[in-house]
């Protein structure tokens, strides 16, 4: 009996006991690690339309193990294959699977939605031979909505990505002509961390063009204009664009801004075209022209900020030409 017990204690029972104790020790450590990883953006909690679907998704992920990313690439390729044959349902189905597998990748939402709101939409409107015009319009509308829905889901998963917001904004602008909604999407895009500056500018333009929020639009554009002034004062890069001046002038007219509060005449749209330090050769003549324009009648002194920029650009060009 004793020996039997000893053998057992040395054998499976001891092993099981060790595994059990180790499992209890590691459980809190694992929970902490999982929490830290989730905070860093790893192991996203999965979402399904129902709790059971969620479990199904988890099952699929578990079954795939470390091959999830490879399977997702295969599915993307398969979707591309179906795209070649305008098999939109299968394109959508494959992209939905890809989105389940990697919801934190914004590209899969952007590309999947693009197939819906641009490719399928255009095909039903123009190339679909099987349906009448009315049906084709209905189908095109349906695919547009699918694309919109997909982008919204993508935003839920990636709220800090500006490009999904940008695509949703472009959908409203180009497909539905809803400039106010497009402006709102651009605003949301511009608020995401690391969003490029032009998103904020386009928000201002669209707000000005939508015609329902002129005062707010003026405030936004004035802010960009003032920032440009500040940049100019710090003698760095000119950042105004022709559209800014054009839109501001339109708004000034609509809002009846008194002439003394309008943007000065010398800041003409003609002058403020692209002028970045990337292209000193092209920007020099523009700044020279601006410098000429800035010479007021009394006293006839040029703008010192512009004069410095011109001098700097000339220096840059001289340095470049001096290099053998």
């Amino acid at each position: 009996m004793n020996r039997r017990w000893r053998d057992l204690s040395r054998g499976p029972a001891l092993v099981f006991l060790v595994l059990l104790v180790a499992g209890l020790v590691r459980a809190p450590l694992e929970s902490r690690l999982l929490r830290d990883l989730r905070q860093a953006g790893f192991h996203p909690p999965l979402r399904g339309s129902s709790a059971l679907q969620e479990v199904g998704v988890q099952g699929m992920m578990g079954a795939l193990g470390g091959l999830r990313y490879m399977v997702s690439t295969f599915l993307t390729l398969r979707a591309n294959f179906h795209w070649e044959f305008q098999d939109w349902e299968n394109v959508l189905q494959n992209y939905r699977l890809v989105q389940v597998l990697e919801p934190r990748n914004p590209d899969v939402w952007i590309t999947g939605a693009w197939h819906c709101h641009s490719n399928a939409w255009a095909w039903y409107l123009q190339d679909d031979p099987a349906h009448s015009e009315v049906t084709r319009r209905l189908l095109a509308r349906e695919w547009l909505e699918r694309g919109k829905e997909m982008l919204r889901q993508g935003i839920e998963w990636n709220p800090e990505n500006p490009w999904i917001w940008r695509d949703l904004a472009n959908l409203y602008r180009e497909r539905e002509g809803n400039l106010c909604e497009a402006a709102e999407c651009y605003r949301r895009a511009s608020l995401t961390p690391g969003a490029p500056d032009f998103l904020h500018r386009i928000y201002g333009y669209l707000l000005a063009q939508c015609g329902e929020h002129d005062e707010e639009a003026m405030k936004v554009l004035r802010g960009i204009y003032d920032e440009g002034l500040e940049v100019l004062r710090r003698q760095r890069v000119m950042i105004w664009k022709p559209s800014l001046i054009v839109e501001m002038r339109k708004l000034e007219a609509r809002l009846g801004v008194p002439p003394e509060s309008c943007i000065p005449e010398r800041f003409d749209a003609e002058g403020f075209v692209i002028a970045t330090p990337l292209l000193p050769k092209e920007s020099l003549p523009i700044y020279e022209r601006l410098l000429e324009k800035s010479r007021g009648p009394n006293p006839p002194a040029p703008d010192p900020a512009l004069a410095t920029i011109v001098a700097r650009l000339r220096e840059q060009l001289d340095e470049k030409s001096a290099v053998p």
Binding site: L33, D36, G66, R68, M70, S72, T73, D107
Partner: protein, 310 residues
């Protein structure tokens, strides 16, 4: 059975501090050479061909997708190699040593059994490490080669995406930074490290199973099942939340979660590929967890193997 006194410590059982690293290294090197002779490195040729095809073929629409695809396929191949190899190579070792009597030759010398186990395990891990390093290097070279063209494409897209708006130098730099996020980063090192840790854990689990099993086939199948279940931790936990399983179902589920290693923890590759950064703290915790599992399964392997009649 032997005639030794029941409570006496067997001669082949040694305290941890008496383990000789030199002997372990000799055994590991012998294992490594033995495995290299099995021509496992030919897999690297297949790997190279695969990533070259992915890198060369214009299969994807977005430039970033192309970079992601190179990394995904490379990591997918690495994953397949390490998993299959960790299971099969480790499962073969003990039965083969028994079959060709090498085990008796080794253990008849003053080599404690734990040293034998560690030597065999480290041999497998060494080969895994070298193969992974070679594959990772090949992937990095390809990504670095593709990077300038992707950067150029992204800047072009930025110019088009601005809808006729001119973009500033700052914005161009942002686009370049975006491209860099999809390129090479230190997090990729963490990803390959996590993959390696997972392979090490699988090897340790297989080693443990092979000490119990009587055949290689049984070891391979059981280890594959353990790997499979190891990826279902989250599912099991979530299943309880959704379904009322009763006390028995709950007990079984909890036992599975406690006893089986959670291999899903090491799956950080996908997020790293798409630009998520793994922090040093999380990386170190992951390493700690991997080492914990390896230590645990070597310990239970030793518990079984130390008294095993050969």
């Amino acid at each position: 059975m032997t005639d030794r006194a029941p409570d006496a410590i067997p001669a082949h059982v040694v305290p941890v501090w008496e383990i000789s690293p030199l002997r372990v290294w000799v055994l590991a090197r012998a294992t490594f050479v033995q495995l290299v002779r099995m021509k496992v490195f030919y897999f690297l040729l297949i790997f190279a061909a695969l990533v070259l095809v992915v890198a060369g073929a214009g299969l994807f629409w977005l430039p970033t997708e192309h970079l992601i695809a190179i990394k995904r396929w490379s990591f997918g191949a690495m994953y397949l190699f390490t998993m299959v190899y960790s299971i099969s190579a480790t499962a073969l070792l003990l039965p083969r040593d028994l079959e060709d009597r090498t085990l008796y030759t080794i253990l008849s010398k003053p080599v404690p059994r734990i040293e034998y186990l560690l030597g065999r395990l480290f041999g497998v891990l060494l080969l895994n490490a070298l193969a992974l390093a070679a594959m990772f290097l090949a992937m990095c070279l390809l990504v670095a080669w593709k990077m300038p063209s992707v950067e150029k494409q992204l800047v072009q897209e930025l110019l088009q995406g601005a809808g006729g708006e001119a973009v500033s130098l700052n914005e161009v730099n942002q686009a370049k930074a975006d491209a860099a996020r999809y390129g090479l980063s230190t997090s990729l090192l963490w990803a390959v490290w996590a993959l390696y840790l997972k392979a090490c854990v699988v090897s340790a689990v297989t080693l443990f199973i092979s000490t119990i099993a009587s055949s290689s086939l049984f070891t391979i199948v059981t280890s594959a099942m353990v790997v499979f279940i190891g990826h279902f931790h989250q599912l099991i936990l979530d299943f309880w939340k959704v379904n009322e399983t009763g006390w028995f179902g709950g007990l079984i589920g909890r036992l599975l979660v406690i006893v089986f290693p959670n291999l899903g923890l090491f799956d950080v590759v996908d997020e790293v590929i798409t630009g998520t950064e793994l922090t040093l703290g999380a990386g170190l915790q992951l390493t700690g967890m991997g080492l914990f599992y390896i230590g645990l399964f070597v310990l239970v392997a030793q518990l079984v193997f130390v008294d095993k009649e050969l």
